[in-house]
Symmetry: C2
Subunit: 484 residues, 2 copies
């Protein structure tokens, strides 16, 4: 029985002992009929005089918490009604527990957006576009191989899947070997593994601004100093880039070069090469996040930075979750040399391995469909949908919203004149969700912006969804004008 | 074009510039026919005199890396054969990149043990024991609900699954509400989330010794000061426990009370309550890791510490991965109050959410089978298997190995007189794997011990597997005696 004692407290030590025991009786920790330690024993255990404990026990008895049977000892009674009622649990002590979590802005947001009728917050594809039959067949095939249920994979991932992904990358002209590939639970885990492995307190991370909120969450949770890369409407300001490296000496640069999140832009070849050039000069790492490069609306896109990289500066994060099977949460990372093996150690700490069933299902999916053909068909669908969104924005919000159509990916980045942090709460009531712009900026500025994803909204609901969203925006705008 | 320049180098600045450009040509970063910056431009950009750049360009031309066309500029040629051959990528720079990973001992080990014929390293169940048909049916059912493929769950997990798990816990007499439950990708992610959220550099974590290696990995990666709880053959030394708390002021206590890993022991009620008592006094957190409590060989086991806990001190980690479906990697954590919500933020950062397909499959599994009946049948099987292991150890290694049979779980903790770190490498050649004891101690002591799991070895292979393993142990012992 340990009793914490403060010798600097204004409360006498006897009072402190009595109070602790009363609290424990109140909380149900000490039960009716249980004996307390003998006076001598408790005194010795907590290092106070016998007299002090006698006083404490007297208080307990006076308040009706205990009864003393001479020759036998002191026992707890149930007549604790008079005491401080602790029948409801007391979690107040938890406030003292220091944590290192940094919170997740994005997680908070997505938690709220779960049951939206129009889930514009989601950057995924709707069922009509996903290969649902092939997925069913793939999981069925996996379920007939007992190993998928009974085993774990190595932390690096299933060998067959890594080989198959290597072939896929090579068919795209990118020489990514199986030994460079590690299977992750979605792109987010890839970002987080890089953050845990290479970013510590005060390390500088360069990011595009705006950028992907959940990446900011990961970097922030590591205590990074996050520095935005100066950009204008044409993309990264090349004239300032070198000076930025010189002055900030970044350790990691995080970019989404193809289908930037949230703007949907594509980084041109010159910028890609300049960034690589600087990474070589400054011995820094580039994290290339790539969940959407297959779904582009420009005829040609530049090669991935991982492909351009010669000396192991780029960590490539390839997501398949959003474009193929959100429910399987499958992604991979690719890295070279030592950088790869250090990430592997952290992957094992994080979750031992990505579920083998998902890996084997994904393997069967890749064997069952032609990924290039599938992505071609999604691209055609999404191109059409993207046109619709433009037309609908024009129709319902021409005066109040500005935008540039994405060059790749499922997101429109809208500029308004209203406060989208307020709008998101109002929209929630109508079961419409979107990502408020402030989430995408380090300093939570950008509250005039919002990101809407059109991939997860079924085609037939697109018009009514956008109409309803625009109505909310237009109303807010009118209210604002009236208030002037 | 940025060129890093060191003004304290022995190499002249011209030489430095020329060398960097040569390296980039060698690495393929600068291609044939490309123009270099004009002398004036480069001089300005990197802040050196024009004369310095002229000298550098002269070196490049003399070595055949460039050609100057008067009036047009300097261009890269392909005749770079004479220069430093950088055709093979150069990852040497990566050695400079500081990381914070802490490595994973356990991950290294399991990576090596992947293809064992006798996987004694694995603490899982073999196919013969797992509910393979029910798993197939459950995944099939999930695959017919499009939502399982097309969506993400909230970071906290699927609502239906959390409700169902709550009911399961309540049927076991433990009042765990759905709002206290968070779905994780296996128990390991639970451990790691706690470590990331609540453990920082220098924070004290108390652990049983020996303990689960992957937990040590997580705590170590956070810079924890890990302190072993003094124990003897009867379990935790109660007489030293209070002093340990007093002196070390732990922030977190990590225990596996039922089916301790690796010893298989069960913590008695008195110890559980004493630990809780101390946690209350010192405002610290108890992490109760529970992957195996259903598979116990004692008639009765004490209630979980989570159930005994009144004021939110215990974080309960329940694994279903090992006993039900390793391939789905499903687990959950339970926590109360503020502690829960802080963990939730970190879960979102780690991977946004556990794959929804796995959650929905697991839900259908729980609806499809009676968990108590299933665990009863596994317990009967495992009890029989445990008897066999005892008999076989007696038969093949009575003189060279000592053990106490587990009270719960699938592991025997064996004591030998040989070096099991050496044995594990030899065993690998025979495709026999086990966990060397050193992995389970903070200071890597315990190299006379080994952990063997009997759950993953099919019954019909058990005798030959143990016979082969014991032969290796006995041989080592003989060699050692001969060498004396």
């Amino acid at each position: 029985m340990h009793i914490p004692i403060s010798r600097t407290s204004k409360q006498s030590i006897s009072d402190q002992i009595a109070q602790t025991i009363m609290e424990r009786i109140g909380s149900g920790m000490y039960k009716e009929g249980e004996p307390l330690h003998s006076v001598r024993q408790l005194a010795k255990e907590i290092g106070v005089s016998v007299v002090t404990v006698i006083k404490a026990y007297r208080i307990l008895e006076q308040k009706g918490f205990t009864v003393t049977q001479h020759g036998k000892g002191t026992f707890i009674t149930t007549s604790n009604q008079a005491g401080p009622s602790n029948a409801t649990p007391d979690y107040a002590w938890q406030a003292e527990v220091v944590d290192y979590s940094g919170r997740s802005m994005f997680g908070q947001h997505t938690k709220r957006s779960g049951v939206a009728k129009y889930p514009f917050h989601a950057a995924t594809l709707s069922e009509e576009l996903l290969p649902m039959n092939a997925l069913r067949q793939a999981t069925e095939r996996a379920s007939h191989d007992p190993r998928s249920f009974a085993g774990y994979s190595s932390p690096l991932g299933d060998e067959d899947l890594r080989e198959t992904l290597s072939s896929y990358f090579q068919s795209n002209g990118s020489d990514v070997r199986a030994s460079e590939i590690m299977i992750t639970t979605g792109c987010q885990q890839g970002i987080d593994l890089v953050a845990r492995t290479f970013i510590g307190a005060g390390d500088v991370v360069l990011v595009e601004s705006p950028t992907y909120p959940a990446a900011l969450d990961s970097f922030r949770s590591r205590g990074a100093r996050i520095v935005p890369i100066p950009s204008d409407h044409q993309g990264i300001r090349m004239d300032l880039l070198t000076r930025l490296f010189d002055e900030q000496a970044p350790k990691v640069v995080y970019v989404v070069p193809t289908g930037q999140n949230p703007t949907g832009s594509i980084m041109d070849m010159e910028t890609r090469r300049r960034l690589l050039d600087l990474a070589e000069s400054f011995h820094c790492l580039i994290v290339e996040d790539d969940p959407w490069s297959e779904i582009h609306y420009e005829r040609q896109i530049p090669p991935s930075m991982y492909r351009l990289d010669q000396n192991g500066h780029v960590i490539f994060l390839k997501g398949f979750s959003k474009t193929l099977a959100p429910g399987l949460r499958l992604g991979c990372l690719a890295a070279k040399g030592d950088i790869y093996s250090r990430l592997a150690g952290v992957k094992a700490i994080a979750d031992l391995s990505t579920p083998l069933f998902n890996q084997r299902s994904f393997l069967h999916l890749l064997r069952g469909i032609s990924l290039p053909d599938y992505y071609d068909s999604v691209r055609i669908h999404m191109t059409r949908k993207r046109e619709s969104v433009q037309r609908l924005l024009q129709k319902y919000a021409a005066g109040s919203v500005q935008w540039v159509a994405p060059q790749a990916g499922p997101n429109f980045w809208l500029q308004t004149t209203i406060d989208t942090d307020a709008l998101v709460i109002e929209a929630e009531r109508e079961r419409i969700s979107f990502l408020p712009g402030s989430n995408c900026f380090i300093d939570l500025s950008g509250s005039r912006y919002l990101r809407i994803g059109f991939g997860a909204i079924p085609s037939e609901k697109l018009e009514e969804g956008i109409a309803e969203l625009c109505k909310l925006i237009n109303n807010q705008e009118k209210t604002k004008e009236t208030q002037r």
